[in-house]
């Protein structure tokens, strides 16, 4: 299917003429750059990409990608992308969405795409705020947060998007960070390679309305203590000196110091295909006592929707014969009048 040699694409091939119009310093720039670069390296023809979005700062993305694309309506990127993919399963279909677009108004489409395992790749820019509408609560904003729509502090408990996706049955869930372009790139590649629905949550800094939301995982001093970089089949180690790890105490996960009471053998080994582990990891978000996991949280192979669909069509054609206008009109009970 892929002939990497023959495609000589570079990042530039994915840049459009449109002036990029995010605020100076917005995390979206980094993600754009990562994606443009990674797309060029996948060995996929440029015309085979379709990038679909809803409405939001993040959702302006397709205008900056020189691929096929739709800047849709608020919350509906996923069903639009589903239609694109089903109509032409050969395409590599990407959804770019925000925390408001993707899981506030668009939450239903999100969970249904995950359960159906529709082969689209959903990249959610989570800045924990509504950017484009100038700073209201999003479903990932923390309790107590003061925003334009919560002048006395938010009273809405937030979602944990990864857990939500897992709860909906997502076969592939990952998390990355706007600033970490190498990691971001790797996640995009993994999603591209995964056959079926994929979900990547990207922590993204909104410099204007929620600046510093992810400071603890971007600041040099704290980031190692607050992030857990996952690797398949590797123990879950983190911390500046890699001296901490995740230990499963019965069924309760704890962050522990390695060396004192716990050895490296007590540390949980990550397994992308283990559904319990992924659920445990998903839960860490918003917990002050736990590091935030980055990387592939879950990756299991299950037959995707498009494959089911194409197989079924093929089977029926096999059985009933390819339909024609003639067979169509004359189907059912017919009789002649002479």
């Amino acid at each position: 299917m892929i002939d990497i040699q023959s495609l000589d694409l570079t990042k530039k091939d994915f840049v459009t003429e449109n002036e990029v119009r995010w605020c100076p310093g917005c995390g979206d720039y980094g993600i754009l750059s990562s994606i443009q670069k990674t797309f060029a390296s996948l060995g996929e023809k440029k015309e085979n990409f379709a990038v679909i979005s809803g409405i939001g700062c993040s959702s302006r993305f397709p205008y900056y990608m020189d691929t096929y694309g739709i800047h849709g309506i608020h919350g509906r990127a996923i069903p639009i992308a589903t239609g694109v993919k089903l109509a032409n399963p050969a395409l590599s279909v990407w959804v770019i969405t925000g925390d408001g677009d993707g899981i506030s108004i668009g939450g239903n489409h999100f969970i249904h795409a995950m359960r159906r395992n529709v082969d689209v790749n959903v990249v959610l820019f989570n800045n924990r705020i509504y950017g484009l509408t100038k700073g209201q609560l999003s479903p990932t904003s923390e309790l107590g947060k003061i925003t334009k729509s919560s002048p006395f502090g938010s009273i809405d408990a937030p979602f944990n998007p990864a857990t939500l996706a897992l709860g909906a049955g997502a076969p592939f869930v990952a998390r990355s960070l706007d600033r970490n372009m190498k990691h971001m790139s790797e996640m995009i590649r993994r999603a591209y390679q995964h056959f079926g629905a994929t979900f990547i949550e990207v922590y993204q800094n909104c410099v204007i309305f929620n600046d510093g939301a992810f400071n603890n995982i971007t600041d040099k001093e704290t980031k190692d203590d607050f992030s857990l970089m996952l690797e398949h089949k590797k123990p879950m180690i983190f911390g500046k000196e890699s001296s901490k790890g995740i230990h499963l105490d019965g069924n309760i996960p704890r962050a522990v110091e390695i060396g004192k009471d716990y050895s490296i053998d007590d540390i949980l080994v990550h397994d992308e295909t283990d559904s319990v582990i992924s659920l445990i990891l998903g839960e860490f978000t918003y917990r002050p006592d736990m590091p935030t996991p980055f990387g592939v949280i879950r990756a299991v192979d299950t037959k995707p929707y498009c494959k089911y669909m194409l197989d079924q069509i093929a089977e029926v054609k096999q059985k009933q014969g390819e339909g024609t206008l003639e067979t169509l009109l004359s189907s059912g009970d017919t009789w002649e009048i002479k």
């Binding site: 015309e47 020189d66 800047h71 996923i78 089903l86």
Partner: protein, 614 residues
Amino acid sequence: MDTTKQIRDMDDVVVRFAGDSGDGMQLIGDRFSSSSAHSGHDIATLPDYPSEIRAPAGTLAGVSAFQVNFSSRDIYTPGDAPDVLVAMNPAALKVHLNDLVRGGVIVANTAAFTGKNLKLAKYDSNPLEDGSLSGYHIYAVNMVEMVANATHNLNLKPKAIERCKNFFALGLLFWMYSHSKADTLKWLKKKFATKPELIEANIRAVNAGYNYGSTMRIFTTSYRVASAKLRQGKYRQVNGNLATVLGIVAAGLRMGREIFYGGYPITPASEIMHEFAAMKRYGVKMLQAEDEIAAVTAAIGASYAGNLACTATSGPGLALKSEALGLAIITELPMVVVDVQRGGPSTGLPTKPEQSDLNIAMYGRHGEAPMPVLCAFSPRDCFYAAYEASRIAVKYMTPVLLLTDGYLAQGAEPWRIPSEDELPEMDIEPVFGSEDFFPYARDEKTLARPWVSPGTPGKEHRIGGLEKEHIYGGVSHDPENHQFMTELRQNKVDGIALEIPPTEIFGDESDGLLILGWGGSYGAIREAVIRAREEGVKVSHVQVRYLDPLPPDLGDVLKRFNQVLIPETNMGQFRRVIQANYLMKPLGFNKVKGKPFRAEEIYEKIKEIAGEKS
């Protein structure tokens, strides 16, 4: 045996089969229609289900009915009032008696006229016996006993015998109307291929019914309806929903486009989804989406990716699709949106037809958001309307709204299957624009923009819901461009009017009364007008397929008549459209009872107006 009976010739007959939901009325209704159609009658049928899935047996709410009109002439509706009512239990009699023509025939299954059932049907005494039906011809038969006798050596359980009684009724009706049993006997053999005991039992029931008619003295007459002078050809029965699907799939095959259907179940449109789901051998891709918004937006995505996309729903679902239709309009993507209208507002009367979605179809989108609106006239016409909607959608690069209703959706008629070259041509020319590719370049005539699917090398482009720059398709906040594009979108839709054929007037070309209808009222109006004209009333009929844009000659046509009457099953939505367009005041004939017009009602109205005049 049959030789002894008196045979009377009739032009047309309306039979209504009514019984409990579990009595199999839809089945024998369908069999009776089929045998009528096969023997060359023109027919029209209409099922009438209870709104509950399975109401308790014997209750008024549980009655299920099926009406067949068969005729030696062209017919337009399933008939206003049955000539014959088959009542399998007291509740069925109670519910449907009012519709029966004065002096009509009642065939009743006395086995079900028990004390319990009479009570459930809220009868104080047995109507078959208390003289209250004296104005009718009553044929009361214990159908269960008859079947039991006919099958006594088959060792059937009482329940199984009971189940065959509908075929006894069918056999009796076959005899009464001189229909052939042959087809049905064949059908039974196929249907129950794996259950030979059922084949035998049901065949005996049919024969028992038939023989009962021919041997019993009570039936002094049987009737014969001559074959209709139908056009030669191959026929099949279609209801409106099936015809709609056939129209779209035919259009897709004709234009060489794969078909995508995005749907969500809703009465009375669900069957469209079922039919599409069954069309896998035509490569139809069908998504049962999580809701109507996902259904329509998936269709938009599929359209962008080059498929002929369709979504169908009823009122509440159309309301939900409203925002997304704006996106289809501004991105100028082809799509057919079918609205099978039902009684509103809100959940309203979900199983009843109404024509009250015209407003939302024409005006129910935010901003200036014009899209063509078409409607279908009859069950089989749904095929042509859907085919035409597809053609317009792709030719002009626009979503198209097609209005049908619950009455058309479920009503069935025989349809002469057109040959390929009888189908209208798909006169669609791909738009390329100038040398360079620009997504919002224009075809000069149609104002369509190019339809280029993802996967095409070198033509990568983005579209979306923000205002688009003319030709280039980029986002534009330029005031002049917005004015230009707003007008362009309007002009594109208005321009379709140039293709609309001259308005066909049935009756006189001018003067007198004109009945102006749209959609499913076609049959009732046409029948009424024919009847009134036969009596010398100066009345004509125009039925409008294109609601937006309207036919360019319509204003002139209307002004040629002394009076215009617009019958609608709503409060006058089309009348307001006519008023706004032509600054004239037609008469309204509005009914909002969850029922289609009967020809009789319109006929009476015509007479009333004609009477006032004279």
